[in-house]
C-alpha cells in the first residue's frame, strides 16, 4: 500500500506499460547489442534522445522549486546551438565555442533571474520576454538560415560514444549527479525549497532569497544551453526555429509528472528524470506501434490525462476508493 502511495509509483507503472507495449511490434525491443564497442538498442536510443529533455527538465525543476517557471529554455537552446555552430564554422576550437555558448547562456540566465528577483516581475512574464526575443536573437546569429556544421569533434557531443555509452547520456547523467549532490548533500536544496515555500519568510530567516533565485535561473539557462549543444550537435546544424521548440512545455510536464508541485517549495530530481524518460518513451512508442503521425498528440494527451488522474489523490479518493470520504479542500 505504501508503494502505491509513492509519488513515483504511477509514472513508473505507465513507463513500464509503455515499454512493454513496444514488445508487440518489435520483439527485440529490449535487446542491447554491441557494435564497435558501442552499445546499441532501442533502450539506449530512448536514453540518448531524452538527454536534452532531462537537462532542461532538471533546470526547470530547480526554477519551479522556487515557485517560478522558465518559458525561455527553448529559445536559450536555440541561441546556444546557433552561437556554438557559428564559432565552430569560423574555426574556433570546439571546446572554446561550447564554452562561449554556455557563457552566453549564463548571461541570459542572469537576465531572467534579475527580472524575477530584482525587478519582481512575475516569472512567467519575465521569461516570456526572452522566449519571444530569444528566437529572434538565434535567427540573427545564423542570419535566418540553418547553419550546417561538419566538425567531427563537435559531432561527438550529441552523437558520439565514450566508454561504450552515448556522450549525451553521460553529460546528462553528470549534470543530474551534480544537481543531486549540490541540492541533497548540502543545504542548498533545503534553501531553494524554503524560498519556494515563502520568499519573505526565508528572507527574514536570513536566506539570501534573491541571490538564490538568480542562481536557479542561471542554472536552468546553462542546462538549456548544454541541451542546445547536444541537439545541434546531434543534427549537425543550428536550426533556430526547430531547436527546443515547445520543449518548455515538455520540461514542465516532466517536472510535474515527477511529483514537483508547480506552486514550489518541494522538488524531486529523480522524478523529473523519470518524467523526461517517460515523455521520450511515449514519443518512441507512438513510432514503433505505428500510430499515425496525426494521432501522436492525441495519444500523448490521453497518457497525460491518465497519469495526472492516477497521481491525483483526490481522484483516487473519489473514484478508486469511494469510502475515503473525508476530503480536505486543497487549493493552489
Amino acid at each position: 500500500m505504501t508503494l502505491v502511495r509513492h509519488r513515483l509509483f504511477w509514472p513508473g507503472v505507465i513507463l513500464v506499460l509503455l515499454l512493454m507495449s513496444n514488445l508487440f511490434s518489435a520483439a527485440n525491443f529490449f535487446s542491447i547489442t554491441v557494435h564497435d564497442g558501442h552499445l546499441y538498442g532501442s533502450i539506449i536510443d530512448i536514453l540518448r534522445n531524452s538527454a536534452p529533455l532531462i537537462l532542461v527538465g532538471i533546470g526547470m525543476t530547480m526554477v519551479i522549486a522556487t515557485g517560478g517557471i522558465d518559458l525561455s529554455v527553448g529559445s536559450v537552446m536555440a541561441i546556444s546551438g546557433a552561437l556554438a555552430c557559428l564559432l565552430v564554422n569560423d574555426g574556433v576550437a570546439v571546446l572554446l565555442a561550447c564554452a562561449a555558448a554556455l557563457g552566453l547562456c549564463l548571461v541570459l540566465g542572469v537576465w531572467n533571474g534579475m527580472l524575477v528577483a530584482a525587478l519582481g516581475i512575475q516569472p512567467i512574464i519575465a521569461t516570456l520576454i526572452l522566449m519571444v526575443a530569444g528566437r529572434g536573437v538565434a535567427q540573427l546569429l545564423t542570419d535566418g538560415q540553418i547553419l550546417n556544421v561538419s566538425s567531427p569533434s563537435f559531432k561527438v557531443i550529441g552523437a558520439g560514444y565514450w566508454l561504450a555509452l552515448p556522450v549525451s547520456v553521460l553529460i546528462a547523467g553528470a549534470v543530474v549527479a551534480l544537481a543531486v549532490v549540490l541540492t541533497r548533500r548540502t543545504a542548498l536544496g533545503l534553501l531553494i525549497e524554503s524560498v519556494g515555500g515563502s520568499p519573505t519568510a526565508s528572507r527574514l530567516a536570513g536566506i539570501q532569497a534573491r541571490r538564490l533565485t538568480v542562481m536557479v535561473y542561471v542554472f536552468a539557462a546553462v542546462c538549456a544551453g548544454v541541451a542546445g549543444l547536444i541537439y545541434s550537435s546531434n543534427v549537425a546544424s543550428a536550426d533556430s526555429n526547430a531547436a527546443g521548440n515547445l520543449i518548455e512545455l515538455d520540461a514542465i510536464l516532466a517536472t510535474v509528472i515527477g511529483g514537483t508541485a508547480l506552486t514550489g517549495g518541494r522538488f524531486s530530481l529523480a522524478g523529473t528524470v523519470l518524467g523526461a524518460v517517460l515523455i521520450q518513451t511515449l514519443n518512441v512508442t507512438t513510432v514503433t506501434l505505428g500510430v499515425p503521425v496525426e494521432t501522436t498528440l492525441l495519444f500523448k494527451a490521453i497518457v497525460v490525462i491518465v497519469l495526472c488522474l492516477a497521481q491525483s489523490p483526490a481522484f483516487r479518493a473519489k473514484v478508486l476508493h469511494r469510502r475515503g470520504a473525508k476530503r480536505v479542500e486543497v487549493t493552489a
Binding site: 526572452l130 510535474v256 492525441l298 473519489k318 486543497v330
Partner: protein, 336 residues
C-alpha cells in the same frame, strides 16, 4: 483587509500610510493606458498616416479574436488559474467549422455546434481541475494536446471556407464615413467584453471570481460556490476560445489545425500587461483590452517601420514587451 475609504469627493492624501485602496488597484491599468498613449504618440510623430483613425480601428479588426480569447482568459487568471488550451481550441474550432461546412452542413447548425466544442472541453478541464485537484497548468496543457490532436486527426491540411454566411461575415463592414470602418467581428468582440466587464463588476458570479483569486480557502469558508464558479470560468474560457475560433475563421476564411499557434501566450501576455495579477484576485477586464491594444500597436508600429526582417521583429517585440513591463512595474511600485 483594512480598507481606508476616503470620503466621497475628496482626493486621497498622498502620505505613505494612508493609501486609498480602490485607487491603488487602478494604478496598473492607468499605467498601461498612459504607456499606450505614449506609444501611440511616438507612432504618430514618426510615421506618416499613423494618425488615421482607421489605423487604430484596424488593431481591433485584426485582433478581434484575440480580444475574445483574452477576455475568457481574464476570468481564469482572476481565479488564480491559467488556460493553456485556448490556442488549440481556436484551431480545433476553425478545423471543425471548415470540415462541417465543406460537408454541406448549414451555417445555422455549424455555428452552435462549434461553439459547443470549446464549452464542453472547458467544462471537462474545469471539472478535472476542481474535483481531481490537477494543476490548471497541466490539465489545460493536456487539453491543448487533446484539441490539437483532434484537429490534426480531422484534417492536417488547411481547408478553405466558401460558405455564404461565412464569406458574408468576412466581408461585412460597418462604415462610419470616408474609409472608416469596422468588421462584424469587432462588434461581437466589443459585446463580449462589455458583458464580461459587467459580469465581473456587478454580479455575484464576478465577486466570487475575485474572492477565489484572493483566497479560495476563505471563499469556501465564506460559503461561496467555489466549485461551481471555478468550473464555470474554465467553461467560459472554453466558450470564448471557440467564439474566438469562429471570429478567426471569419477573418481567415479557412480551417487549419496549425492556426493560432502560441495564441495562449499572446492572451496571457495581454492579460498581464493589462495589470491582472497572475496569482489572481486583482485586475480588470478593461486592462486586458488595453493589453490586446498594446500587442496590436506593437505589431502596427513594426508594420509601419517596414524595414525589419522577421528575426528583428521578434527581438523588437521582446524589447518592447520588456520596456512595457518594466515601466509598468516602476510606475506601479512608486505609488506603494
Amino acid at each position: 483587509m483594512t480598507t481606508v475609504t476616503a470620503p466621497p469627493g475628496t482626493r486621497a492624501p498622498k502620505s505613505r500610510n494612508r493609501v486609498y485602496r480602490q485607487n491603488r488597484r487602478h494604478v496598473p491599468v492607468l499605467a498601461t493606458l498612459g504607456l499606450l498613449i505614449c506609444m501611440y504618440v511616438v507612432g504618430v510623430a514618426n510615421y506618416d498616416g499613423f494618425s488615421d483613425v482607421q489605423v487604430l480601428l484596424n488593431i481591433f479588426v485584426d485582433n478581434a479574436f484575440l480580444l475574445v480569447v483574452a477576455a475568457g482568459m481574464t476570468f481564469v487568471i482572476l481565479t488564480g488559474g491559467i488556460d493553456l488550451s485556448v490556442g488549440a481550441v481556436v484551431a480545433l474550432t476553425t478545423t471543425v467549422a471548415a470540415t462541417m461546412l465543406h460537408a454541406g452542413w448549414p451555417a445555422g447548425v455549424v455555428l452552435p455546434a462549434v461553439l459547443l466544442i470549446g464549452t464542453v472541453l472547458g467544462l471537462g478541464m474545469g471539472a478535472v481541475i476542481h474535483y481531481f485537484e490537477v494543476e490548471p497548468f497541466i490539465a489545460t496543457l493536456a487539453g491543448m494536446f487533446l484539441a490539437r490532436g483532434i484537429s490534426l486527426l480531422i484534417n492536417r491540411n488547411s481547408i478553405p471556407i466558401t460558405d455564404g454566411f461565412w464569406t458574408a461575415m468576412a466581408q461585412q463592414r460597418l462604415r462610419f464615413g470616408q474609409g472608416i470602418f469596422i468588421s462584424t467581428s469587432v462588434i461581437i468582440a466589443v459585446v463580449v467584453v462589455l458583458i464580461g466587464a459587467f459580469v465581473l463588476a456587478y454580479t455575484r458570479f464576478g465577486r466570487t471570481v475575485y474572492a477565489i483569486g484572493g483566497s479560495a480557502d476563505s471563499a469556501l469558508l465564506m460559503g461561496l460556490p467555489v466549485a461551481r464558479t471555478r468550473i464555470a470560468v474554465y467553461t467560459l474560457s472554453g466558450f470564448c476560445s471557440s467564439l474566438g475560433g469562429v471570429l478567426l475563421s471569419f477573418y481567415m476564411l479557412s480551417g487549419y489545425s496549425l492556426h493560432a499557434q502560441g495564441m495562449e501566450l499572446d492572451a496571457i501576455a495581454a492579460v498581464v500587461i493589462g495589470g491582472v495579477l497572475l496569482t489572481g484576485g486583482s485586475g480588470y477586464l478593461f486592462g486586458t483590452v488595453l493589453g490586446v491594444l498594446v500587442l496590436g500597436l506593437i505589431q502596427t508600429i513594426l508594420t509601419f517601420q517596414g524595414t525589419l526582417s522577421s528575426w528583428w521583429t521578434k527581438i523588437v517585440i521582446g524589447a518592447l514587451l520588456f520596456a512595457f513591463i518594466v515601466l509598468q512595474r516602476v510606475v506601479t511600485r512608486r505609488t506603494r
